[in-house]
């Protein structure tokens, strides 16, 4: 079985999570503002960068 590409996997999961958050906002299940979305966006970018960097170092 081929080894999964970790950065792609993390990137995909992060995008899926962002999509879920935006969908919940659209359905009025949560109220998304700049103050709540900014930490999520930063965390998403941080997770992708950490995965990419760790994979490159390995």
């Amino acid at each position: 079985m081929p080894k999964p590409d970790v950065p792609s996997l993390v990137g995909g999961l992060v995008l899926a999570a962002l999509g879920v958050v935006l969908l919940l906002d659209r359905l009025d299940a949560i109220e998304l503002s700049f103050g709540t979305f900014a930490p999520i966006a930063f965390a998403a970018m941080g997770a992708i960068l950490v995965a990419l960097g760790l994979s490159r170092r390995a």
Binding site: A38, P39, F42, A43, V50, G53
Partner: protein
Amino acid sequence: MGTAMANSSATATGGTPPLRRDPGRRVLAGVCAGLGERLGIDPLIVRVAFVAAALAGGLGIVLYALAWVAIPRGEGEAAPRRIPGDRGSVEVALGVALLALSLLLTFRELGIWFSDAVVWPLVLVAAGGALLWRQSTKPAEEPAEVRPEPEPPKPTRAGTVSRTGLGVALVIAAGLAFLQATGSLVAARDVVLAVLVVVIVLGVIFAPWILRLVRSLSAERAERIRSQERAEMAAHLHDSVLQTLALVQRRAEDPKRVAALARRQERELRGWLSGRTQRDSAERRLASALEDAAEAVEQAHGVQVEVVAVGDRDLDAKADALVAAAREAMVNAAKFGQGSPVAVYAEASDGGARVFVKDRGPGFDPAAIPTDRRGIRESIVGRMERNGGSANITSAPGSGTEVELVLE
């Protein structure tokens, strides 16, 4: 962004260049250069547009980040001004910084927060301080050595300066942010302006002297490094080639023995020239290196050399110099000890090492050594001092000799 990408794919088939980031002409990631190439306009115009959009509520920053992710990298060569170093480490550091920022913003949003005027300046000071401390705790540049194999690229001076500059800028930004938040910026501005004027005036007056002083210090440092390299090479040649030539003269009546000595010296010299000796020593330990040196002295001079070692440590450059100095002391004891056995006692730990070389020969007066003899002066005392250690020789006519070598 979607429109830009659609346009790109549509026009790419029409003969115009595809939308690619241009790393050859980049300032950050080559987005503006790529867009300028694609649109057929000067990249500077695109850059100005992005900066203007960034100042208008940060929209330009978001657009640039999105374009960076979405537009593939072109084939152009990377500009040499890129910060060198391990790219993976930089990405991990940036990622961790973003995660930390995300955590801070979450706390702020939840109301678990002290004050913007305190936390953000503290964050900037911490980031800038971390960069500056990292630079200052790195080992200083060492003089170039013979490197037979290419090694991974080391951070250049430009990279070091840019990281230091970034650290200083972050700390200054933290100070300004704190002054602004506490309403003290206007008062501080007057003081800073006065200091700045004085510094500029003094700089203009003293610039030629400062420049000359810096150049003089650089030249002095280069000369010191050259002088140390010459001394190291002279000490090595003395301990190896000159010693072997002296042995060859002494054993001239035994052709087989002379040929064996010549072969061993040739192997040793070739290994040293090719750097193999340095690579081998990286895999060895101090105690075994001392035993090897004692064995070589025994074989060359036919004198018994006993080694007792307590503790051990890696054979780094300093320990290597300690072994070379101890070997020279053993050779001297074998040559001038009138056949008396040579005793070597070593104490070593990761913190330091101490080696004693003793013989019960006729002894000598250390002060009476001619100035042109390099054995003790350069190969033992000079070598230990160049490597941050010391050598103490205790001897008197008729009472044997003890050489104490200390590496802290």
